[in-house]
């Protein structure tokens, strides 16, 4: 039997054969694990994800956690959750709503229950529903007992007690033993969904290799959870989700921040240049710093600077010296880096500026996602200060986007903004591991000889004499004889790079810097349009992490028999050369964004196309169903009007 709805499957199977375990095949499941931020939900989610990845399902994850490291235990602000969508087919989002909610305490239940559709499977740790914990979140009566959860399939399991029982002989104290209840839960879920378990056992052994008793306890709890599922009458059904058909190749699971960091290492290797990262810790970008700091054997130098400004400034200094300079941050950090970014524009040095966007303005929502830094990336500097902007579309795509940002920076000698976001950064998906030899060649040629002559014929080096094709200036690095030159933030004279206050020169240089960035369009190919039947009169355009939800929404619409085109922009500055023409092909163009309409503003201004903005800033990705409804209304009103 195959069904897409686990609740239906569970009630049918469970009702007919209560004591014989049955297996139900599903094509996809969305599970949300929710608990206190100290409960280890992110770890549990990541392990379940790894098991799922190695099993071969397609998957997409959505971690959601508070900014506080340890918010007061058992309170609503302290709830941390991890949602995983996995399937036997290609999926694009972490799922709109969970099919299964695991709530480790009353706060987790209260914070997440409204997202669980009626009939959904609800697993709770009954031990945590104490009068004290209930009171903390304002439950006057225990919801496990008052019938208020009758609309869901409630399975109330004493997870804490069971964990303690399993670890009775472990020698651990009660408090320590209790901490393994997340592994008990993971074991239970692993049984329910037929996940392979060896990876988790190996992981726990590795993770706690210096504390073998802790490793043993966690493994014991994990196995106890698995066996509990296998033997208890509380769970009559387990589920099977077959591996998804994927292109042949070797895969791994990867998060956006990991992929981005590896992309930077790869850019260093493919250019032959040392990588220098100047960074100041900031959520949600710090993991890139952590990851890169582990790869010194690749000649990667990481410098934890005293502030955001020193982060970018040191990277500029390193670029001047011939390194691939990189700085990583989030929106507030970009604000601080703005002036230095202007210096990189003026000195025309390669630099990759990574902005892992989060909710704003100001400190905003540090752990939540948003894509509201687009206009800041485009324009957030004094003067006419154009910067190329590249945005990855999925966690794994962060790898390719980082390489692309490095390519532009090195080829055109310019700072490049790489706009990731919190959802991409922490979300994960399977990634087909690329063949190193097939990665782009990013090798650069440093200038080593004079490129001009003084009026009397003496050879000289002109640091602003441009490549006629790319308009890039030569990159001559300290240490090379005869090429000494001075650069800086003051306006440069064309070619010579001397200080110039000449009005005509400033006009020329301003236009040259713009033309250089505009000219990048010649290297980026045509607009990415997905219009399978070619009949669409409505297009949905997006950038960055909305790729997944927009793509999923378009699939739903197409399944309903309608035509719709998906346009995705990887390059936000410059846009692909054919974008205006592409947009004008459609009667209606809808632009969903996790901001108040920044891309649509750019498109309307540049192309005079009536792009319709659809926006939300909830700190969470779009839900595909909601987007599909919006777009479907537009399609129906459009075709209704024309037929």
């Amino acid at each position: 039997m195959t069904t897409t709805d686990p609740s239906v499957a569970a009630s049918t199977a469970g009702g007919s054969t209560p004591f014989v375990k049955s297996v139900v095949e599903l094509d996809r499941v969305v599970i949300r694990l929710a608990g206190d931020s100290g409960d280890g939900m992110q770890l549990t989610g990541n392990r379940f994800t790894s098991e799922t990845a190695s099993f071969g399902n397609d998957l997409s994850t959505l971690p959601n956690f508070p900014a506080e490291i340890r918010a007061p235990t058992g309170t609503l602000p302290g709830v941390s959750s991890f949602q995983l969508h996995f399937a036997d087919h290609d999926i694009m989002t972490p799922g709109d709503a969970p099919d299964v909610l695991v709530a480790m305490n009353p706060a987790a239940l209260k914070a997440n229950l409204s997202d669980l559709p009626g009939g959904g499977l609800l697993i709770v740790d009954a031990d945590e529903f104490t009068p004290r914990n209930l009171a903390k979140v304002g439950y006057a009566v225990n919801p496990l007992e008052d019938g208020s959860l009758d609309g869901w399939q409630l399975v109330s399991v004493p997870l804490t007690t069971l964990t303690l029982e399993a670890l009775a002989d472990s020698g651990l104290g009660k408090k320590e033993a209790e901490r393994s209840k997340n592994m008990f839960t993971l074991g239970l879920l692993s049984w329910m969904y037929h996940r392979p378990t060896e990876g988790t056992v190996r992981f726990l052994e590795r993770q706690f290799r210096r504390k073998p008793e802790i490793a043993a306890a966690n493994i014991a709890a994990f196995r106890a959870g698995y066996n509990y599922g296998d033997t208890t009458e509380a769970f009559a059904v387990s589920y099977e989700i077959k591996p998804a058909p994927m292109a042949p190749g070797r895969y791994r699971n990867i998060s956006g921040n990991q992929a981005l960091a590896l992309g930077i290492v790869a850019a260093g290797q493919r250019s032959g240049l040392p990588v220098f990262l100047g960074a100041y810790p900031i959520t949600p970008a710090s993991d890139i710093l952590h990851e890169l700091s582990r790869h010194k054997s690749f000649g990667v130098r990481t410098f934890q600077a005293e502030d955001e400004i020193a982060g970018i400034a040191s990277a500029i200094g390193a670029s001047f010296g011939g390194a691939l300079g990189v700085t990583t941050t989030s929106g507030p950090g970009v604000s601080l880096k703005s002036e230095a970014l202007g210096l990189a524009i003026m000195t025309e040095l390669p630099l990759v500026v990574v902005d892992v966007q989060r909710g704003g303005p100001s400190t905003g929502l540090p752990t939540k996602t948003e894509q509201s830094d687009l206009l800041q990336a485009m324009f957030g500097r004094n003067g006419e200060a154009p910067v190329p902007v590249v945005a990855p579309r999925s966690p794994a795509d962060c790898f390719d986007a980082a390489l692309e940002a490095a390519r532009i920076a090195l080829t055109y000698r310019t700072p490049v903004m790489l706009l990731s976001d919190g959802y991409l950064a922490n979300g994960a998906e399977p990634w087909q591991i690329p063949d190193v030899e097939e990665l782009p060649d990013l090798s650069v040629e440093f200038a080593t000889e004079p490129n001009a002559a003084t009026p009397d014929g003496t050879p000289e080096f002109q640091p602003y004499l441009r490549d006629p094709e790319t308009l890039a200036r030569p990159w001559a690095i300290p240490g090379t004889s005869g090429m000494q030159h001075r650069i800086g933030g003051l306006e440069k004279a064309d070619k010579t790079g001397n200080i110039s206050y000449d009005p005509a020169n400033h006009d020329l240089m301003t236009r040259l810097r713009q033309a250089k960035v505009d000219g990048i369009a010649a290297s980026i190919g045509p607009t990415d349009v997905d219009d399978p039947d070619g009949n669409a009169s409505v297009a949905v355009i997006g950038w960055g992490s909305t790729y997944g939800p927009i793509g999923a929404a378009c699939r739903r619409i197409r399944r309903s028999g309608r035509s719709v085109a998906q346009i995705h922009l990887r390059h936000l500055n410059p846009f692909p050369a054919d974008l205006g023409e592409v947009l004008r092909r459609y009667d209606r163009v809808i632009c969903p964004e996790m901001n108040l309409g920044q891309l649509s503003m750019l498109l309307r201004a540049k192309y005079l196309v009536d792009v319709e903005s659809h926006t939300q800033v909830r700190g969470l990705p779009f839900r595909a169903a909601e987007l599909a409804a919006v777009v479907q209304d537009v399609i129906d009103s459009t075709t209704g009007g024309t037929q």
Binding site: S50, A53, G56, G199, P243, A247, P248, R250, Y251, R252, I254, L262, Q269, S271, G272, L273, P274, F276, G278, H295, K296, S297, F298, G299, R301, F303, D307, I309, A310, A313, S314, I316, G317, S319, F320, G321, G322, L343, I433, D435, S443, V444, F446, T448, E449, I477, P478, G479, T480, S481, G482, M483, Q484, H485, R486, I487, G488, G489, L490, I499
Partner: protein, 363 residues
């Protein structure tokens, strides 16, 4: 001949580029004259500015280091002093306000084969760039910071600076400035700077000596240079420059020599009862009580106590090298970590991309 030790040479495309330039343009020229360091750019400081004499002193002194000019980089921030790189035929960057130490840190940390100099001023280094300065000093990256202190904002036309004396009447403080000034030497020592010196713009010999010791020092060296702004703060250091008062109020710091100064050596420095230092009359104390200058003391409190002898009005100003101790440099340690990582695990990009947990989908 190179008198100072530049770090390990570059490798990869950087080394290739350097080698190519040597092929086409000949061996690195390490015997330079002052004129080799001049550029064709017209020097645009105000006539009479103290910056001219510092520029000349630096151009005359640098050749003695035996470093090719292409191996020198001068990074500056914003302000009058920060025009310095344009007048030096080396590599240079005239950057943005206050950030030169951070830019130079990135350069020096990734290119230990270069001689990196920062030129900054009292506003640039101590006001807008104060954070970078203290962190650069504590980190001990191999770079030399020349802090031109004229105790005024010149380029913005005459506002008080973080080193201006209290009560300074300027365009922005018509009733006198209220904030207590920084003593740059005290600040640097508070940040645990390994090398701190002070010199006077007009004292070519003294300035050159401090610069030489700074250049030879491995790690961050801060040299405060008193510099006269003849437009907005003229005569700020006359007390120390005047032959008569200068002898009276300057305390020359010579390593290994007793701290005796003033006309006929009438004054000296002795320890006070709280572990600090005080001024005494030489003929009132026993010779054994007079402090013998030791710039190499690990503990910075002695150097700090020296820096506190002077007051805002410049009386009892020690001139010379306050502290010069050897500590591991950041760039060297960073290079060592890279080397250690390379030795323990060869760089295999394919293995890195694959990670520990992979699965294979077959055709």
């Amino acid at each position: 001949m190179t008198t100072i030790d530049l770090g390990m040479p570059a490798d990869g495309p950087i080394a290739d580029a350097i080698a190519r330039s040597v092929e086409t343009q000949g061996e690195k020229q390490t015997t330079l004259k002052a004129k080799d360091l001049k550029t064709d750019q017209e020097v645009r400081w105000c006539p009479g500015c103290g910056d001219y004499v510092i520029l000349n002193a630096v151009q005359s002194f640098l050749p003695s280091l035996g470093i090719a000019r292409e191996d020198m980089v001068i990074v500056s921030g914003i302000g009058c002093s920060s025009r310095f790189p344009y007048y030096m035929n080396t590599y240079g960057m005239h950057s943005i306000h206050g950030r030169a130490p951070a830019i130079a840190t990135g350069l020096a940390a990734s290119r230990p084969d270069l001689s990196v100099w920062v030129v900054t001023g009292d506003g640039d280094a101590l006001s807008i760039g104060g954070n970078h300065l203290i962190h650069t000093l504590r980190r001990n990256v191999n770079l030399k910071i020349l802090l031109f202190n004229n105790r005024i904002y010149g380029l913005t036309k005459g506002q008080y600076s973080p080193t201006s004396e209290v009560g300074k009447v300027t365009k922005s403080t018509p009733m006198g400035s209220l904030d207590h000034p920084f003593n740059p030497v005290s600040l640097a020592l508070g940040a645990d700077a390994a090398f701190v010196g002070r010199a006077m713009d007009s004292d070519r010999k003294g300035l050159t000596e401090v610069l030489r010791q700074a250049a030879e020092h491995q790690g961050t060296a801060l040299v405060e240079i008193y510099q006269n702004c003849n437009i907005f703060n003229d005569g700020a250091f006359d007390l120390l420059k005047d032959p008569t008062t200068g002898v009276q109020w300057s305390i020359p710091l010579v390593h290994g020599e007793p701290l005796v100064f003033g006309p006929d050596g009438a004054s000296c420095v002795v320890r006070d009862e709280f572990g600090g230092l005080r001024i005494a009359e030489t003929n009132q104390v026993d010779a054994s009580e007079i402090v013998v200058h030791d710039a190499t003391r690990e503990d910075p409190s002695y150097a700090f106590a020296l820096s506190r002898l002077s007051s805002q009005d410049l009386r009892y100003t020690p001139m010379g090298v306050f502290r010069s101790v050897q500590k591991p440099t950041y760039d060297r340690m960073m290079a060592d970590q890279v080397e250690e990582a390379r030795t323990s695990a060869p760089a295999d990009l394919g293995a890195l991309l694959a990670g520990n947990d992979t699965w294979t989908v077959s055709a």
